[in-house]
Symmetry: C2
Subunit: 645 residues, 2 copies
């Protein structure tokens, strides 16, 4: 409840895992408030509260968001609101550097959550970032290395035991040193089966999660009270499951020659007494009454084939599967990673038990592979999940099997639906720009999607006009056109940004006549004036007060215009324009006419013009064309082959 | 000699490691013959010959090239020359798919060479590829997984011992299971020192290698005889070192309680007898008379601090360092990876011995870190080297230390020179396109670098004109311009490729008058006619025989023209044009005029126009400008900080 209350009232942007938001940000979508200091605090506190309440949520996603938040706040040069600024950090006042920082931060989050530095780097590369440069790889690696060294140093310092649980499995580290993992060709069929079913389960997980999120969204829209009520209901339901279900399991007698207590009562211990007589333990209670990390470690442990009963594992699997789906959409920081890993481990154990004597593989290994299959099926990450699992289990000999399972489950799941983060991004309505062009875009030209009246400015423009346009439109970029007497014929001079116009209006260095400014017009400004503001901080045109005389004056826009905007000819294929827009990472793309007799600019393309919804809204017939059918139909075989090669 | 002879006479493209060529290919530079079947065969056979001759060369680089070759040949749909074609493979008859395949192949090569699947994927990503998509990551991962599973299966099959040395360390796999690697904060200073010196040694390695390659190039240019003579000289010199130097080392008595023979004679065994009396061994001979893989394994082994003497290690280090540099430029397939790893391991051991009691770290661990530092210093790869080393040693606990060493050595080395592959690419004169724009490019516009007369075609062009232009120029793309009567004013219609013009000329479907073709002109052609040919296979204009009447006829180019070429305005900043060119992966970029009164195309930019040498040749004053000084000067501090952040 505490987590839900602070999230709902203080920072709604902190709800959920945050990975979809980070992913969208790195794609170029600035959702409001996702990287503010307030979100950061709520995320950290709320995540601790939510996880410790035994809600079936993870901490990896929130840690990724936390890392990205810290990176973004550093990149903004600290928080000006709280007077925490640093001069050195001002170098990051542009989009690209800030995006790089956020990528590194996200990678550091995973590296810290799983103590998996390489996995963190790969995660940032594979699932979060949209653009990637070689230099970024090395910077993300540096960040992850610092995380690894700091963690190591803290653990070293805490060896004395003064830090409580820190470094003792409080962070996940499944030292599953089952020294010799033996597997042979005959073990492949069960593993392949595990991958196939895991893929189906994973895509079904995504399917259910999307439906549940839709229902939750309807409830949450009704008001904060409903949000909190929903959170309370799920939390109470979870507790009921936790305390109620173990009664269904029968007691088992403790195994001989154990190094730990059996049965045990209290926080730690893998053999919980619960309602059992002395010398017996309840295996289902052992699963429920440990932290998620400890449970996963138990499931991964080798040589424990006899510890769990089939019925307990099955019950725990079903509970975990559905609790994970129900807990995610609550208004509290919550990750998906750990629940999916846990559910997958149980699923793997279950398959191992069902295999019985048909397979010689250890059930702990089955659990690891089960986690991999469910992760591959729901998150569709391959390389990063593989490396994270290897770093968790610290056993590289598992590599070929884990790879195989991941590939199979991802391939199977890809035939059904998209990965979980894409589904959430779509559900949140964030305009995420895909890297590939849809086939029907090849049939269109850019002029087919240009809409709406175009607002342009003259090279020397009246203040009143600028204010009027800024007040009546929400556009962020405006073409600047030179007309006679400044040029022989109307010519595109460049593109000016709304943010820069606001800076000009604020400074009030206006001209009295419509002429090129004779002095150096850029002199009163420093580069810092035009620096990218922190996320969520915009100047507004309504804040600028201008007198009637000032409205009649002029501004020479030439020195402040980007004279090298990217342009495409109106007959350019939409697919190729999308590739340009996406690969170069643009926000505005000017469309120029083919023949020279018309106005020098035909339109301006932004991210929204490339969204399939927008294009299909303008050209509904495309929905029925054969391209469309090929793409969205159930032609899973084609997809399968194209994803293979 | 055998390796040199087949390389020199059959496939000169197979010389060297092949990684620079693959890297350049993925950047868009098709060097002749690098992916032919002949190169593949020579590479495989020559590599086996060169490595088994005890020449100080590695096999990882050639294996990368081999993997890329196989991928490229598959992508071409087999070899048509040898009638090995496959219909299904024709889907890859375009640049992008073939590039993706080659990337996967290169990754598979590393995966096979080091049995490091994740390392292979990362290697392909970090050091080979220029463009990277998320889908490619997953395909490379799939390839690596197949490699891992096949390797595993072969080893399983070969357990019986029928396959000779296969699977028994013939491939590198340093099962260095020193189960508990303990290290603490106090061990950091020696490790940091190791990294710094490793970085200096690595960049010095690059420096020397470049000088040696320059000298070798001068010798090799004199003729094939000189090439073979050089190879023979170095080979004999290597043998002299191998057999001569161990005499300098003193004999040591065998350690007690060994599981293996001591002293041993022959191929295997870590304690060579050489000239020693019974019960003694020569440690320098043990280093020299093993395969490189076995030597590395010995150096990495834990608990062997007392096995090697300081003088032997020092001697072996110096020999290995210089032999590695001298052996690379020979006309034979030769890799750099293994020599650098070996030299680095020796260097690490040396530091460990010199540290003496100041460090509690195992000398085997020092060897691993030494390899990392030298790899980081010469190849400048971080993530991939880290993962490859971890997969080799199968010990993830080393991760933070390896990361730290790599970062330090790369940072130190980056202040001195570029990485080894970039140096070789530059030395070979391949026009490699960097991802970033040089600062002085911001001062130029694209019109500043457009040179030479522009060749254009009309929408309906005379055959004779086309033949004349194709014969007199070497351009690969030509703008097609529509003029009255086909349009109101001269208008850019698109871009046509030389290869496509040749296809049109071959088919001889000409028009008798200068008019738009009334029938569907593209009908006689299938998509396959215009498919990308295999590398090295070009049609030539000289092969096409045309009669005088045919020369007077016309071709309607409209159906065969790319109507959506990317264009930039002539006032566009060169830096921004480079970003467009590089990010979208273009071969031709059309420059259009700003004002409409001029011809519709001003020029055409290709890769060569963006080369710094070309630009600085046109604008020599830039060399002296302050931008230039900042960039190329010895301002190592600035570079250091900018590489940190």
């Amino acid at each position: 409840m505490f987590a839900s209350v602070i999230t709902a009232y203080m920072a709604p942007a902190a709800a959920g895992s945050g990975i979809p938001e980070v992913k969208a940000y790195l794609n170029g979508v600035d959702a409001p408030g996702i990287f503010s200091l307030r979100t950061l605090v709520v995320k950290v506190v709320g995540c601790i509260a939510a996880v410790s309440s035994s809600l079936h949520v993870g901490k990896a996603g929130p840690m990724v968001h936390t890392g990205a938040c810290i990176a973004s706040i550093l990149g903004q040069g600290g928080s000006r609101k709280y007077h925490l600024t640093c001069k050195w950090l001002r170098y990051f006042k542009n989009d690209r550097d800030r995006r790089d920082l956020v990528t590194c931060g996200a990678g550091a989050g995973v590296a810290a959550a799983f103590r998996a530095p390489v996995g963190g780097v790969l995660f940032a590369l594979e699932s979060v970032s949209s653009w990637w440069r070689s230099a970024l790889l090395w910077r993300a690696f540096f960040t992850a290395a610092v995380v690894a060294v700091v963690l190591r140093a803290l653990i070293d310092i805490c060896k004395s035991g003064k830090c409580g649980l820190f470094g003792k499995g409080g962070l996940i580290m499944f030292d599953v040193t089952s020294d010799t993992v033996a597997y042979h060709l005959v073990d492949l069929p069960p593993v392949i089966l595990l991958g196939i079913i895991g893929g189906i389960l994973g895509s079904f997980y995504n399917f259910l999660l999307e439906k549940v999120l839709r229902i939750y969204n309807l409830i949450n829209e009704k008001g904060t009270g409903y949000k909190l009520l929903l959170a309370a209901t799920i939390s109470i339901f979870t507790s009921c499951c936790l305390f109620g279900l173990p009664w269904l399991a029968s007691c088992r007698s403790c195994p001989a020659d154990l190094s730990e207590d059996c049965p045990s009562i209290g926080r730690s211990g893998n053999f919980k007494k619960f309602q059992c007589p002395p010398d017996q333990y309840n295996d289902l209670a052992s699963l429920f009454f440990n932290t998620n990390d400890d449970t996963i470690r138990n499931l991964y442990s080798a040589g424990t084939d006899a510890v769990f009963q089939k019925s307990s594992i099955l019950l725990f699997f079903v509970t975990s599967y559905f609790l994970g789906i129900m807990s995610y959409g609550l208004v509290a920081p919550s990750g998906l990673f750990v629940p999916v890993i846990l559910t997958g481990a149980t699923y793997g154990r279950l398959v191992g038990i069902l295999m019985g004597k048909h397979s010689t593989l250890d059930h702990g290994l089955f659990a690891v592979l089960g986690s991999a299959s469910l992760l591959g099926g729901s998150m569709r990450m391959t390389v990063s999940v593989c490396v994270i699992l290897l770093e968790l289990t610290n056993n590289l000999l598992l590599l070929p099997l884990v790879m195989l399972v991941l590939l199979i489950s991802k391939t199977v799941a890809d035939t059904f639906n998209a990965n979980i983060y894409d589904l959430i991004v779509k559900l949140k309505g964030l305009p995420y720009l895909e890297a590939h062009a849809e086939p029907y875009m090849r049939q269109l030209t850019v002029s087919d999607v240009v809409t709406g009246p175009l607002q342009t400015f003259h090279g020397v423009e009246k203040v009143g006009n600028i204010v009027h346009v800024l007040k009546t439109t929400g556009h962020h970029g405006f073409p600047v056109i030179d007309e006679p007497p400044f040029s022989d014929s109307p010519v595109l001079f460049g593109l000016i940004l709304r943010a820069h116009l606001l800076v000009l209006l604020k400074k009030k260095e206006f001209l009295h006549t419509c002429a090129l400014s004779s002095f150096d017009a850029s002199k009163p400004f420093s580069a810092d004036d035009f620096a990218k503001r922190g996320s969520g901080k915009h100047d507004s045109i309504d804040d600028i007060e201008l007198t009637v005389e000032e409205m009649e004056m002029y501004i020479d826009l030439h020195p402040f215009t980007n004279t090298s905007p990217y342009t495409v000819v109106e007959t350019m294929s939409l697919a190729k324009a999308l590739i340009l827009f996406r690969e170069v990472g643009l926000r505005h793309l000017l469309v120029v006419p083919k023949s020279s007799s018309r106005a020098p600019v035909v339109g301006i393309l932004t991210r929204h013009d490339f969204m399939p919804e927008h294009i299909l809204g303008l050209h509904p017939f495309l929905l029925k064309s054969r391209w469309k059918r090929l793409r969205f139909g159930k032609s899973t075989i084609i997809k399968f082959f194209s994803s293979l090669c």
